[in-house]
């Protein structure tokens, strides 16, 4: 696998293989010496055109634990602020013989463009492009779900028969798109829950169930994993941006509050890709409670990204 651009590109076998590898990398992270020499001599650039804390630090940690050299790039303080194009930026990196590019960009398809335009030979990993894809997030969510929802030895197992319910701002969410692709590939049933204003056009063509009412979704299709999406205020014009009447109403209709938390089955886990808007899509008792696996998601993110960097950056070129 030379690039990882979309969760939709992965077959069931590839996805299960990445999750199994991630478990092996996770086992190395409990040791005194967490650093492996696997990618020694390789250089990875974190090319982040959008703000990020956990994804960038997670990729940086993963690359450093594999002994790669990591260069962080942000548009502020770079030539992008002088108007340099994506092409020229990537050509510059290509000339510096960079081995891997982890890219986040507000434009859907930017990672695909970088990987397939001939600007660089580097392996490209998509760390989020616009509202399109965020494949490593879907993988770390799947790893977290598999650990909690599959009994016994998780290796080789998928999520067959489990129900994943994704709630909130589906319209702006690459996490939701990647998640629907990957969880379906792994055999899970997926429900999307959102107000009609926050559902993308054509969602009825997606391979999942769609609900407009959260309480109905919890009754009709009880989830094994409940994933609360962040309300992406930066992609909306004002407080609710006209997508919903008020934050209070959104929290009442679609937030995970203590009342809804109490209705979940005893084994159901609560996920959130972060950063959390506490009191909006998720109440603090849900975010900090025993069902919450939010910090595990972060830990698993490093292991998943180690697996992805290993798979994309080792192996002879043809």
């Amino acid at each position: 696998m030379k690039h990882l651009l979309s969760a939709a590109d992965l077959s069931r076998e590839e996805a299960v293989g990445i999750l199994d590898d991630a478990e092996r990398w996770a086992a190395t992270q409990g040791r005194e010496i967490k650093k492996m020499p696997t990618l020694r001599g390789k250089t990875v650039v974190n090319l982040f055109f959008e703000d990020s804390t956990r994804t960038r630090i997670s990729f940086e940690t993963a690359a450093k634990r594999l002994s790669a050299d990591v260069i962080n790039f942000s548009p502020k303080g770079s030539s992008v602020s002088k108007g340099e194009s994506l092409k020229d930026t990537v050509l510059t990196l290509g000339a510096m013989r960079i081995d891997g590019i982890v890219v986040r960009h507000s434009a859907c398809g930017a990672p695909y463009q970088i990987a397939h335009s001939g600007w660089t030979d580097a392996s490209v990993v998509n760390a989020g492009d616009g509202t399109h894809q965020h494949p490593t997030q879907a993988l770390l969510d799947a790893m977290t779900m598999r650990r909690h929802l599959v009994e016994g030895d998780v290796r080789g197992q998928d999520l067959r028969g489990r129900r994943v319910t994704i709630v909130g701002d589906v319209l702006h969410s690459r996490v939701a798109r990647s998640g629907v692709n990957l969880f379906r590939t792994l055999g899970a049933e997926v429900s999307l829950v959102a107000p009609a204003t926050l559902l993308p056009v054509g969602v009825d063509g997606w391979d999942c169930d769609v609900f407009l009412n959260l309480d109905e979704a919890l009754d009709v299709a009880p989830p094994d994993a409940l994933m609360m999406l962040r309300v992406q205020r930066e992609r909306m014009s004002s407080a609710g941006g006209g997508f919903f009447p008020s934050p209070e109403e959104y929290a009442r209709e679609y937030g995970l509050d203590t009342r809804r938390l109490a209705r979940l089955a005893s084994h159901t886990i609560v996920l959130h890709p972060g950063p959390m808007n506490r009191g909006l899509e998720i109440a603090s008792p849900a975010a900090d409670g025993p069902r919450s696996v939010v910090t595990e998601q972060v830990a698993n993110g490093v292991a998943v990204r180690m697996a992805v960097l290993y798979l994309t950056m080792t192996g002879s070129k043809e």
Partner: protein
């Protein structure tokens, strides 16, 4: 292609039995022994060697594991991406143990170099020894085996194939090479 069978199933059993005695002799008994197989075929060999040791010293608390070295290999950029294997240590780990690494064929020595680096990340054994079923020469690193099933002088163009029942359905060692 010429194929020459050099060890049969019974030959392998006898060699492992002898190596078990040698390991116990050198270690003055089974105390602190940890047997670690290197995937793929080192793992069943390590199991058989541990069985042989337990057969001689029935009181030995069998300490058997496997050590995948892929993460520490130096040829990751040259070969197709290799699948990761499992690392499984006995409950007490390798700290202050006498670790016996077990592999099927000792050739360049690079796998053993990677195994030593992998071990460093897992603990500090008192000593590390190496047991191989076949030593075929052509070392590229200053590494030697402590216990050898059979020394097989080979040409670099030849290939040593080890077959084990657990993996291949039968036991045997063969040399494949170009016609003379």
């Amino acid at each position: 292609m010429a194929v020459r069978e050099v060890l049969t199933g019974p030959d392998i059993s006898r060699a492992l039995q002898r190596m078990a005695h040698q390991i116990l002799e050198r270690n003055r008994g089974p105390d602190g022994l940890v047997i670690l197989g290197i995937p793929t075929r080192g793992v069943p060999l390590a199991g058989r060697l541990a069985n042989a040791i337990a057969g001689i010293e029935p009181d030995w608390q069998v300490a058997l594991g496997q050590l995948d070295v892929t993460m520490h290999r130096d040829d990751l950029a040259r070969l197709p991406t290799r699948p990761l294997g499992e690392i499984a240590l006995p409950a007490d780990g390798v700290e202050d143990a006498t670790v016996v690494l077990v592999d099927d064929v000792l050739y360049s020595g690079r796998t053993i170099r990677a195994a030593l680096d992998t071990l460093t990340g897992l603990g500090r054994p008192r000593a590390v020894r190496l047991a191989v079923l076949v030593d075929r020469g052509h070392r590229q690193l200053p590494i030697r085996a402590d216990y050898v099933g059979k020394n097989l002088p080979t040409a670099a163009a030849e290939r040593v194939r080890v077959f084990l029942t657990e993996v291949d359905g039968r036991d045997g060692v063969a040399i494949e090479g170009p016609e003379q």
